[in-house]
């Protein structure tokens, strides 16, 4: 029971609650203190005060007071509820759930506590608990439709389709009269029920139910899509075809509909007999709608030979005549097929030489289109020769220069020119060129964005931020960078971090990658409000989609990219703790005496910086919280350079924040498995390492990392300082057989690796050779110079790409090779890639 208060204080307490709810924190605190003056140990008041303090950002104080409140009044549901809210605010959901449950035990009828508990259970996907809470909420107020829907959702998410449907039906049966035609909540609820029936696997019943409700339903597109899908699944092809045609009449630019129609018509792209029918089908759709792209583009996917050539000719002329700038991006996927690539190249080169024919298939058009056609053709060719599958940068440059000569002010042409420089590896010229393009249209954010990106690729972090600042809200706390964080501008954070990584600024690199991970956390948290919001809005299908997306949120490449880089950096920190001292020089490379000197120097510099920083902070602290010019209050970033991130004592454990979601949600990402192996091996977890190795092997047994990691794992097991616990050893013995345990000496592993080198020396695969040399180095560091020599020779291989050559350079750095060796490698590479910035002298 809460401690009783005299009536005056009791009404004051009610005010405290009111002030809190209306966010009038100062007034709330004042009233709370008034009560506490007379009743210093009043638990509920302390709890409320704690809640207000927490909302003001005084988390630690709030927790201390919240605990004290509980101590004073263990039997108060208010104290427990507040305690739960405090945990919830620091995202410790498990503790919050516990506290709510205590509160409910004391006050089982409290709908507020029950609702808070339920929402949290949904957030952490405790569906059993969620069902229980939803049931209680429904029992308390069965007259509300959303309470029924809420319980149905709980059952649905838990996979209990039958019960979910049953709950929805029970509610429907209570309806005395049919809801009005415009009742969107009802319309959505019955459609939701329909998707549950379908998900339960009973398509027949789903279709029948759909037939009953579809005419009155307000989401026309959705019901037609469902109908078509069900019909196709039930093999009722004629009707399915009809429905897909109806869908295509509504939206003729959606491949899912075309694919459905093809299936309904028993057409199969891999079957030659189907091809003429398919062609006729798409011609039919193309002729219906002059502006339709899909029906014209899709046949290029399945046509071959002469038929392809004719269709491609028509398609290209049409687009190029119109001057559609995305013509090339729109067809480049076809280049995976070498024959199609050659045909397209031939065709467009043909256009270039027939320009007097002015691009019209019939050969008649007036001069203006003729000039547009000619420009489009050149523009296409410039992109064609830039693209990786058809690259010839000299030719690309020639075409783009011709265009720029004709129209020097074209943003698009200059952008392509910048891209050509990028592929030459000249990041400086690329950045300069795109900056020129940007200056041609200062109001266009797109080109501004590309410019910042190219500047980051050229390691110009500050310049890039300045470019970005032309379009950011610079009055935000933290200026342009603060705005980019607020607006969750992931691409920028990633590129900025990667640029810092290239410059060995590990602190700032980690800072950016951490910011990306933080944004994913915010996104995850974003769903919370919708557990209740969506019930009120009644758009349940959309909500379910959102929940399912959230369950694999971090398989997004934005997260993966941040994770791969962050994990690599944390491993570097683990292998070489000196890096945390903030040196951009690799200290481990130096002689001990020099190393000591260098360290001292760094220390001195850092002290200076720290002092300046401290002064600045003291000044800032006077303001307590940072306030932007727009009046927004935000917590100040106490580690703007990522130095605290660098200081971590457990880099590998911190890396797990990135690695765990990577392995869990993107298991088919082979580089993730490779890094997972490396981290786990360093953590002394050979079984987990093996799991990654096996996963990688299953994805691609020929992947270079599979070879290297298998050898390194065996090597690790051969050289254990302490024996492994018996079950681990047993398990490894059973499942790790390649290389066999008989390869128990380093020389045996070296022999295996030498065989691997031989195989790939003849295949000429650069990546495999690089990996093999790295393996040789890791087995025995004394082989360093041999590895360096061999790596240098890979530059002679015909197949080597610019990226591979650059990877080789990184490998040398990893081996801590001498400056001389690096220079020699760079020099040789520079002879091959004359303008590539990465091989320029440092």
């Amino acid at each position: 029971m809460p401690q009783p208060l005299p009536s005056k204080e009791s009404s004051l307490f009610r005010q405290v609650v009111k002030f809190y709810e209306s966010k009038q924190y100062k007034k709330g605190l004042k009233s709370a203190d008034q009560i506490l003056k007379k009743h210093p140990n009043h638990g509920d008041t302390q709890a409320m005060k704690a809640l207000i303090l927490n909302s003001q950002g005084h988390g630690e104080e709030a927790f201390a007071l919240g605990k004290l409140a509980l101590k004073n009044d263990m039997k108060s549901h208010v104290c427990w509820h507040v305690y739960g809210l405090l945990w919830r605010s620091v995202k410790n959901y498990e503790e919050a759930v516990k506290a709510y449950k205590f509160a409910l035990r004391i006050e089982p009828e409290s709908q507020n506590i029950l609702r808070d508990l339920a929402l949290l259970q949904c957030q952490i996907r405790d569906f059993e608990g969620y069902i229980e809470s939803r049931q209680k909420i429904l029992n308390a107020r069965p007259q509300l439709r959303q309470n029924w829907t809420g319980l149905a959702i709980a059952y649905h998410l838990a996979g209990n389709y039958k019960q979910a449907e049953h709950i929805l039906v029970t509610y429907e049966e209570t309806l005395k009269q049919a809801p009005s035609k415009t009742d969107l909540e009802h319309s959505e609820a019955v459609l939701y029920k329909n998707t549950i029936i379908a998900e339960s696997g009973d398509t027949e019943r789903a279709l029948n139910h759909l037939q009953e409700i579809m005419k009155a339903n307000l989401d026309k597109t959705a019901v037609l899509e469902l109908k078509a899908k069900y019909l196709l699944q039930l093999d009722r092809k004629e009707e399915a075809a009809k429905t897909y045609r109806a869908l295509l009449a509504r939206n003729s630019e959606y491949r899912v509909y075309y694919n459905g129609l093809e299936k309904a018509l028993d057409l199969d792209r891999s079957n030659d007999e189907s091809i003429p029918k398919l062609q006729a089908l798409y011609e039919e759709f193309a002729s219906k709608n002059e502006r339709n792209d899909a029906a014209r583009r899709i046949p290029l996917d399945f046509l071959k030979g002469d038929a392809f050539k004719t269709a491609a000719d028509q398609y290209l002329r049409r687009k190029l005549n119109k001057g559609v700038p995305s013509t090339f991006p729109n067809i480049k996927a076809l280049y995976a097929d070498a024959e199609k690539k050659a045909i397209i190249e031939d065709l467009v080169l043909g256009y270039a030489s027939e320009k007097s024919l002015n691009g019209s298939a019939e050969g008649k058009a007036h001069e203006e289109t003729s000039s547009q056609f000619e420009d489009s053709v050149l523009y296409f060719l410039a992109q064609h020769y830039t693209y990786v599958r058809s690259r010839n940068l000299e030719k690309a440059m020639e075409y783009i220069e011709r265009l720029i000569e004709k129209n020097p002010k074209s943003v698009d042409y200059n952008q392509i020119k910048a891209r050509i420089w990028k592929h030459y590896g000249d990041t400086q010229k690329a950045a300069d060129t795109i900056n020129h393009a940007r200056e041609l249209d200062l109001k266009d954010r797109y080109i501004n964005t590309k410019c910042a990106k190219y500047q980051l690729r050229n390691n110009e972090n500050e310049k890039a931020l300045d470019t970005m600042s032309k379009f950011t809200r610079n009055e935000t706390v933290g200026g342009p960078l603060g705005d980019l964080h607020d607006m969750q501008c992931m691409w920028y954070l990633l590129e900025d971090g990667e640029a810092y990584m290239r410059q060995n600024n590990i602190g700032l690199a980690l800072k950016r990658f951490t910011a990306v991970a933080d944004i994913f956390e915010v996104w995850q948290e974003d769903q919370f409000d919708f557990h209740s919001f969506s019930l009120r809005k009644g758009q349940i299908r959309a909500y379910i989609d959102m929940i399912r997306w959230q369950d694999h949120l971090r398989d997004h490449p934005f997260f993966t990219r941040a994770a791969l880089s962050a994990i690599k950096l944390y491993m570097r920190l683990y292998d070489n703790p000196d890096l945390a001292k903030g040196s951009s020089v690799d200290l481990a490379n130096l002689e001990p005496a020099e190393r000591k000197k260098a360290l001292k120097k760094i220390q001195k510099e850092q002290e200076k910086v720290k002092k300046a920083e401290a002064d600045r902070k003291a000044a800032a602290a006077a303001k307590a919280t940072a306030k932007g010019d727009d009046g927004e209050v935000k917590k100040e970033d106490t580690d703007p350079k990522g130095e605290k991130l660098l200081e971590t004592k457990e880099p590998l454990e911190v890396a797990m924040r990135f690695l765990t979601p990577l392995l869990e949600l993107s298991p088919r990402h082979i580089e993730g498995q490779d890094l997972g192996f490396q981290v786990h091996l360093r953590r002394g977890k050979p079984l987990l390492a093996l799991k990654c190795l096996q996963a990688a092997k299953q994805l691609d047994p020929t992947h270079p990392s599979v070879h290297e990691n298998a050898i390194l794992l065996r090597h690790h097991l051969n050289n254990l300082k302490e024996p492994l616990p018996t079950p681990v050893a047993e398990s490894l013995k059973e499942s790790f057989t390649e290389p066999p345990s008989s390869a128990s000496s380093t020389s045996a592993l070296q022999t295996l690796n030498d065989d691997f080198i031989k195989t790939h020396a003849s295949s000429g695969s650069v990546a495999h050779l690089q990996t093999a040399y790295d393996t040789r180095y890791r087995l025995d560091a004394a082989t360093k110079s041999q590895n360096e020599d061999d790596l240098l020779k890979t530059l002679d291989l015909d197949a080597i790409s610019l990226k591979e050559a650059a990877d080789g350079l990184e490998l040398l750095k990893g081996w801590k090779s001498d400056a001389k060796v690096l220079d020699k490698y760079r020099e040789k590479a520079a002879a091959k890639w004359e303008v590539a910035t990465v091989f320029a002298k440092e």
Binding site: R14, K220, K332, M487, Q488, M490, W523, F533, S534
Partner: protein, 240 residues
């Protein structure tokens, strides 16, 4: 380029397209707020021909329309509103903006019984103005002075949906005959016809329809309020 309704998992790339192209940006929750409130109204253009790079490639969004229903219309008339629309510079002149808008407008009408749709556009954005006025049939309702944060004026534009309604009813097309179960179909039709003629302007569309504007005041909503204000306050125990 596929045109289809926006799904929650598209949001990261819609956000990317938005911040790449336009100065008015929003955080994820504001997109979610649209997608959870009016999931039928927002559409995306997806480049489906890109060769995949990883097993987890998200859809490559090259254009989008983010749309809503006005929650408390001052005139008391149900109407839709375009929060943001943009098409990547690389994908212009494909008519994507128009295709996106038409899908969204139909859903406004059919799902939410909207009478008209409104939007704001910078007076200097002639390309967007051309799209809205000449291609789609919007009219300038009024000029809102200093509407944008940088003090630029906005055209407040609107388009009645009654014409579209008639079109859909009249053009009740053989394509949907029978698919609604009973004969006769519903209030649906094909817009095949309007696609056929509304667009004769291709030739002059050199100005393109990309980068069409959104309205800045909404940014304030996105930043400052988001959905938080729309949900129940996190009340404390039945303390009172």
């Amino acid at each position: 380029m596929d045109i289809r309704v926006l799904r929650p998992e598209d949001i990261p790339h819609v956000q990317l397209a938005n911040i790449t192209n336009l100065p008015e940006n929003y955080f994820c929750k504001y997109y979610l707020y649209h997608a959870m409130s009016w999931p039928q109204l927002s559409y995306v253009a997806v480049d489906v021909s890109r060769p995949p790079k990883t097993p987890y490639d998200p859809p490559k969004i090259v254009g989008y329309v983010l749309a809503k229903m006005e929650e408390e219309p001052t005139d008391g008339v149900a109407h839709g509103h375009i929060t943001s629309l943009s098409v990547m510079r690389t994908h212009r002149r494909l008519g994507l903006a128009e295709k996106l808008m038409r899908q969204s407008q139909r859903a406004m009408l059919q799902t939410f019984s909207a009478h008209y749709v409104s939007l704001h556009v910078r007076v200097s954005n002639t390309a967007a103005l051309h799209l809205y006025r000449d291609t789609l049939g919007f009219t300038v309702d009024k000029i809102e002075a200093s509407y944008y944060a940088d003090n630029e004026d906005a055209y407040s534009m609107r388009m009645e949906l009654s014409n579209l309604k008639d079109e859909l009813r009249e053009l009740e097309n053989a394509a949907e005959d029978g698919v609604w179960g009973a004969a006769g179909g519903g209030v649906v039709g094909s817009e095949g016809k309007d696609e056929g003629d509304a667009v004769g302007s291709e030739g002059q569309k050199a100005a393109d329809e990309g980068g069409a504007g959104a309205d800045l005041r909404k940014v304030k909503v996105g930043r400052g309020l988001g959905v938080g204000e729309l949900v129940e306050r996190s009340e404390v125990a039945g303390a009172a």
